[in-house]
């Protein structure tokens, strides 16, 4: 079983569009939406949910006022400024439970939060694991790990060859959780100065983890000079740009109709994404 993750560093570069197209073009795979913070892949794949499981993030502290003797130790110990005048600000509380363990009156309780969920679903292109993190909750890294674990279980049980992961933006906790242990990363970037900057940072991360990294440029014709800068940067780092997707209004059009670019048309963008998939597939097949 081989795992491919599609990431971007910068948001809005077209990760989900590319992942959706790969879903349609590939076989024998399970899909995993690891952008648990703002999951969008379901909008393209209309999953039929088969299994829904609760996911609890860390418990948070609450002070029972009747039992509190106002010694202030909790406030002194809290490193996250979450306790003020014997009240816990749940948004700032990181759930470390130091106050709970330290309180001499036992006045602090650790309370469960309203859970997020993860789902196992069926789509027209095979099984999919996705999640919905309760808004304003943390632990997206842990939820990402859960989604990947379930995807691996499904792949093993159903004897599937690939896991295709739609990753979150950025380079922090959820991205690290998405990338650890994957076989190939495809970075989708765009020909802007921001795109170039963010690509450099995500490449830094994939090198840090020593993962085979491929790059494609979306909307490449919006600024050819920057596309060339991207390609030059990649060459300089021994990385290959495997495709240039043109700006094509049909991509937005497909999305508005709830369709995947390669289903909707045989436009320029759709054709190029198909070529990129073939190239990625070769790379995946190379792995033993």
């Amino acid at each position: 079983m081989k795992e491919l993750a599609i990431v971007s560093g910068k948001g809005g570069t077209g990760k989900t569009t590319v992942t959706g197209a790969f879903a349609a073009l590939s076989r024998n795979k399970v899909l995993a939406d690891c952008d648990v913070d703002a999951a969008d892949l379901h909008l393209l794949l209309n999953p039929r949910i088969k299994e829904k499981t609760e996911f609890y993030s860390l418990k948070k502290a609450q002070i029972v006022r009747e039992e509190c003797r106002e010694c202030g130790l909790c406030e002194t110990l809290c490193r996250f400024d979450a306790i003020n005048s014997y009240t816990v600000d749940a948004v700032s509380c990181e759930g470390c439970a130091v106050c709970y363990h330290a309180c001499p009156s036992g006045a602090i309780k650790m309370l469960d939060r309203i859970p997020g969920h993860w789902f196992i679903s069926e789509t027209r292109y095979g099984p999919m694991v996705h999640a919905r993190l309760k808004v304003a909750e943390e632990n997206s890294g842990k939820l990402v790990a859960k989604v990947r674990e379930k995807a691996r279980e499904i792949a093993e049980k159903e004897n599937l060859d690939y896991i295709i992961i739609d990753g979150p933006p950025g380079i922090g906790c959820p991205v690290i959780s998405t990338l650890t242990g994957v076989n190939v990363v495809l970075i989708v970037t765009e020909p802007t100065m921001s795109g170039l900057h963010d690509m450099e940072r995500i490449i830094g991360l994939t090198r840090h983890f020593n993962i085979k990294t491929l790059i494609c440029v979306n909307k490449y014709d919006l600024n050819l000079q920057n596309t060339e800068k991207i390609e030059e940067y990649c060459r300089g780092h021994g990385l290959e740009v495997i495709g240039r997707i043109p700006f094509d209004r049909e991509v937005v059009d497909a999305l508005v109709h709830g369709k995947i670019a390669v289903e909707h048309s045989e436009g320029r963008a759709a054709k190029e994404i198909q070529k990129i998939w073939e190239r990625v597939f070769v790379e995946l097949e190379k792995l033993s």
């Binding site: 971007s8 910068k10 948001g11 703002a38 969008d40 909008l43 130091v98 363990h101």
Partner: protein, 280 residues
């Protein structure tokens, strides 16, 4: 007044709005604060000279093997799975450690002390009337909220402050928009934009932050976002049509203000509108 700019989804134009809103407010004492510490981009458009750098540290426990008895109390206390025991030896996974200090505080042998570990940097510069502040998470580090907190510590409430937040709806965004007077939410009129907007609205309502929506590239896509805002009585405070000239400036790392006429007024009107809404 502190205004934050958030979006749920990435790539909708947060940076464009934050940077150009700041540049349109001439003659004011301003701070532009880039809290997207995983991928900060405002500096590309502001081009501040000579950034002053301050490292951001979080505490990191270290164990004195001579005092440690391998009792495992530190492992049991740690809520982040950052400590494990292997043959009675304490192992610390530094990337998972949130620096809460629990392990050191509760160690019965007083065998754990704390050192510090750099996880990022705060950079500060000036450009005209603008104080520019940004954070940068070191590559390979997982925890962005402490870097965002360090950036926000530099906020001067006597000035007009504009915060560029990261995408999403979880800890980093919450850290960025917390304690701001108004949140500008930038979205695009597509099903993806709508889906992420709804999540972001839920977040802001939970945090009880006053907000308004800007629809970017308002003439491509569908009417889902407009319909949703009308239904939920969310004010749409600006619509910016798709303009290849804006896209081209953005791609070259240039702001709209100073490069495309007509937008000075659009952004200063936007500011006045926000000021009016905050004043209630």
């Amino acid at each position: 007044m502190i205004i934050s700019v958030a979006s749920g989804k990435g790539g909708t134009g947060k940076t464009t709005i934050a940077v150009n809103l700041a540049l349109s407010l001439k003659g004011r004492q301003l701070q532009l604060v880039d809290c997207d510490v995983e991928e900060p981009n405002d500096h590309i458009f502001i081009k501040p000279k000579k950034l002053k750098k301050e490292p951001v540290y979080i505490p990191l426990p270290q164990v004195d093997d001579r005092k440690c008895t391998g009792c495992g109390r530190c492992r049991d206390i740690c809520q982040f799975n950052a400590i494990t025991l292997l043959n009675k030896n304490v192992l610390i996974f530094q990337e998972l450690c949130h620096g809460c200090g629990g392990c050191a505080y509760f160690c019965p042998q007083k065998a754990i002390s704390e050192t510090k570990r750099e996880i990022g940097v705060v950079e500060m510069g000036r450009q005209g009337n603008l104080d520019f502040i940004q954070g940068r998470l070191n590559i390979g580090e997982a925890l962005s909220p402490p870097v965002i907190r360090a950036v926000k510590d530099k906020i001067d409430r006597s000035k007009t402050v504009i915060i560029d937040a990261p995408p999403g709806t979880s800890c980093p965004v919450i850290e960025a928009v917390k304690n701001t007077d108004f949140c500008v939410m930038v979205t695009e009129p597509t099903p993806f934009g709508l889906n992420d907007l709804i999540l972001c609205v839920e977040m802001l309502r939970e945090l009880k932050i006053n907000f308004g929506v800007i629809i970017n590239r308002s003439d491509i896509g569908d009417s889902g976002v407009e319909d949703y805002c009308r239904r939920e009585e969310i004010p749409v405070i600006l619509r910016i049509p798709f303009d290849r000239k804006i896209a081209s400036l953005y791609s070259r790392g240039l702001p709209i203000i100073g490069n495309l006429s007509g937008y000075d007024d659009i952004f200063s009107d936007l500011y006045n509108k926000i000021e009016g809404m905050v004043a209630g």
